[in-house]
Symmetry: C2
Subunit: 305 residues, 2 copies
């Protein structure tokens, strides 16, 4: 089977490098960084940290070079989904494409360009250390399921999940990936922007009682939007927050949105809180807190201009 990772940043690299250790899988990576692509082609894609891995990956910045693929795994930042899948869609005319991105709404964008889509959510995290080398910070599970309006077959979902699991990325194939995805997006949307607006690390956001009231209000709105879709969350996002509030877990970890703010990069706010608010509007569920933090973070981004 041939798998193309679209967007070979930190999370994309975790998938590409691990899959690149399998003898029966040909791995491609499409990325906009020529330096990263060149390093991968010269030396392989290397992971350090939670796992020491060097994967064989064929990388390119030129979408036209991609051959037809069995699967795609889109791992760009959410605001780059449209451009990335529009450029690479030709490679997936006979394939199925999964999203392992943050937020909600990515699968809808992908489905406008390719025939069969897999809904996904993933917990592993890392960061690029230098071109071709990625720090694997956190191990974790991935969940994949057919994207309901335009699904890949369950057989395809299972084959992709099995490849990821064999490669060292434990992945569950489920008929309905929405509970796992919404649990994660609610967790992220309830905590990331608070860190981004206050400059506090993930652990400090989760441990403060005054902020926890705010975080829990965001969680409650997210749960209401999930419930209105008939989604029964697989676990309470509050448990993830309790976990992050433990002093040993995330006290010094800056959530990705705070990292974006400190680097003055665009954040994924439109696909986290903005995404929950958009689903809320369509479903008639009010999300005043998500609207508020969305507006604040977007204004913060604009203050750099």
């Amino acid at each position: 089977m041939r798998i193309c990772v679209v967007g070979c940043g930190a999370v994309g690299s975790l998938f590409a490098a691990n899959l690149g250790t399998l003898d029966d899988v040909e791995v491609w990576a499409y990325d906009v960084s020529q330096l990263h692509v060149d390093a991968i082609n010269a030396h392989g894609l290397r992971l350090v940290g939670a796992g020491e891995v060097v994967g064989r990956v064929r990388a390119t910045t030129v979408a036209g070079e991609l051959p037809p693929c069995t699967f795609g795994i889109v791992a760009t930042k959410a605001m780059h989904t449209e451009a990335a899948i529009a450029a690479t869609a030709h490679a997936f005319r006979d394939g199925a494409v999964a999203s392992v991105q943050n937020g909600v709404g990515n699968e809808e964008v992908i489905a406008r360009h390719v025939p069969r889509v897999i809904r996904g959510t993933t917990f592993p995290a890392g960061r690029i250390l230098e071109p071709g080398v990625v720090q694997w910070d956190v191990r974790g599970d991935t969940t994949l399921g057919p994207f309901e309006p335009q699904p890949a077959s369950m057989d395809e979902v299972e084959r992709l999940a099995a490849a990821c699991t064999r490669a060292g990325m434990p992945t569950h194939a489920v008929p309905d990936a929405r509970p796992a995805q919404w649990r994660k997006v609610i967790f992220n949307a309830a905590t990331n922007p608070i860190g981004a607006l206050t400059g506090l690390t993930h652990g400090r956001v989760c441990e403060r009682p005054d902020l926890r009231a705010l975080v829990s209000a965001l969680v409650d709105e997210g749960k209401a939007v999930a419930a209105a879709q008939g989604i029964e969350l697989d676990a309470d996002p509050e448990e993830l927050i309790d976990h992050a509030a433990r002093p040993d877990v995330a006290y010094d970890h800056k959530a990705s949105m705070l990292q974006d703010v400190e680097a003055r990069r665009a954040t994924e706010i439109d696909f986290l809180n903005g995404g929950i608010a958009r689903f809320g509007r369509e479903l008639g569920v009010p999300t005043p807190m998500h609207d508020t933090v969305t507006r604040l973070v977007k204004a913060l981004e604009d203050s750099w201009r």
Copy 2:
């Protein structure tokens, strides 16, 4: 008459310098900055900008040196009210003390230390350029009225207002200063923290439609808290915001709270949004938006520690 300005920062200096031009008023200033005090005693207190003034002012950092005064004008940042009035209260045993500070709740603090209190609110603004020299940025009116639970006499209020007006600071003596005070605190609380959290100037906060929705939600909560006290605002705070949204008015002006955040100083959030929320709790009026921005700004302050 003898008037002591307690807290001779930018706003306190506007009062002290202007009053210091009157022949029949002896002006004292109490401040914690030895450099500012020494410069005032050596060269007078000088204003530049919206008015060119040099006032005769006797300044001190030693509260015990203050003689008995007819009036006090407290102009510290709101979080310093308690310490400043506790130190200087002996000078006002037979006098009346006015607050011209930001926020709500300052008069209540002052009333714990002196017998007769004047509620006040002021619009002039400036900034200290160097010790003894203050830039007068914005002219504007001041409103004074008896503090209801522990009032100065209306005669005292009128005498202090007349002195300020004669000195070049137009001041209205009114039986009820709450409408003017709440209009200003609602305006400040609806706009300042949004600038502080996003880094946007005052004009940009007021002109953006998405933020205006947030600003107006804060205004609405503030109006409800004012209404629950039986206060009929003298004008709609939204008019102040419309004014600030005009391109020529405040496009480049950073509100004081953003200046505090950029300098990593404590803000007045507890007396602006926190003050409105505290009154709301006592009155049974929910203020979720003010609670939210209070928590975010306090967490932002804590991120510097």
